[in-house]
Amino acid sequence: MITRYKFIIIITTSILLFGCTPVSELKPSTVKPPIITSASSLDYGYPPQRYKEKIKRYFSNKLSRGAISKYTFSKPHRAFKRKGLAYGGTVSWRGWLVDVDISTPSRTGRIYSSKPYMVLFKGSVIVEDILGRNHKLLTRVGR
């Protein structure tokens, strides 16, 4: 009896666990924005101006040894990001994203290690940076 009860509980828990996770919606894609296509490019604003300089200044304050790091930039492209599912999962930011590779010396100064960052702009203001080249809550839209 207990074994049967246990089996039902395991099955129900597994279904609940996977049923609550919106897998397909969260995969990063470069295909198209969801329902908001009609709001299109205006919602994303203008591409950031002097973004290289701004990013360097931003990371100089944020990273240790950011001022003496080496930066490699991509061109800005449109993207949007959802809030975490704990906060409702709605679109929280829509704007321009710049990929940056930052090669920072270690604290001993003997080695350099490179890390990829995504820098999110609203207009020409940096609103957030995310470590990595992708995030399941972030969708790249294109240029």
């Binding site: 009860y5 246990k6 395991i10 996770t21 897998v23 975490g84 409702g88 399941k136």
Partner: protein, 241 residues
């Protein structure tokens, strides 16, 4: 098998050590190192939640109840009034802490599959997914937290195995091999349980955050060079930099 205090002390010490190394290698920031330490310690207590009268089950369910309650309050904070949130919080907390715990006590068996390597990985991957999708942490930090839970969990299992060898009487206790295992096949229902655990493991992996950052930061040649770089004083002067 080791008691609660031993698991706590060893789990916390091991987690503190690993968090310190990650901090020193500049993989995580100081605040993240504190969280990593807490998750590692929590992971080292988790396997004993299947023991009906252990302290772990009480602590584990209290923490989970608090987390889920706080999460629900976050989600509803913009729409619910304070009175509604208070009622919701009491209901959710009581349901998990006192309702689910009794169901769990009935269905779980001490030293069953809760004491196994794949379940350690399931908890770690769930942690990484929650951190990434719920709290929008980046892939690296999410995985570091997930790996800390796995690490703490495995420390617990290894400790249980060590305690099942009686060095004084030079004998191996009956419990040997029941903690650090990949599967369990004692009766017919174990087969379903094993299949479900491994299916869950692979399904969770498919929705887990990107692993490339954590691979590079922890399991690459560069990571090893980074570790060697900070292992000993670079200028040869101990304590006087």
């Amino acid at each position: 098998m080791a008691n609660f205090n031993t698991h706590f002390v060893v789990g916390a010490s091991a987690s503190a050590g690993i968090s310190g190394v990650l901090l020193s290698m500049e993989i995580i920031a100081p605040t993240e190192a504190v969280m990593a330490f807490l998750l590692g310690t929590f992971g080292s207590l988790m396997p004993d939640v299947d023991a009906d009268n252990s302290k772990s089950i009480g602590i584990g369910f209290t923490i989970i109840s608090f987390l889920v309650t706080i999460l629900a309050m976050f989600i509803k904070s913009s729409t619910y009034s304070i009175a509604e949130m208070l009622i919701m919080a009491v209901v959710i907390f009581s349901f998990i802490r006192f309702g689910l715990i009794s169901i769990f006590r009935k269905i779980s068996r001490h030293r069953g599959m809760f004491h196994s390597i794949p379940v350690a990985f399931i908890w770690g991957i769930v942690t990484a997914i929650v951190m990434h999708l719920m709290f929008t942490l980046d892939g690296l930090v999410s995985w570091v937290y997930g790996l800390m839970v796995i690490f703490g969990y495995l420390v617990h299992l290894i400790l249980d195995e060590i305690y099942s060898v009686d060095l004084g009487n030079r004998r191996i206790k009956k419990s040997f091999g029941t903690a650090l295992k990949l599967f369990r096949l004692r009766n017919s229902s174990d087969i379903y349980q094993n299949i479900l655990i491994y299916i869950s493991l692979f399904a969770l992996m498919s929705i887990a955050p990107d692993t490339s950052l954590v691979k590079e930061a922890l399991f690459s040649k560069e990571a090893w060079i980074n570790f060697q770089d900070v292992l000993l004083p670079y200028d040869g002067r101990w304590f006087f930099h």
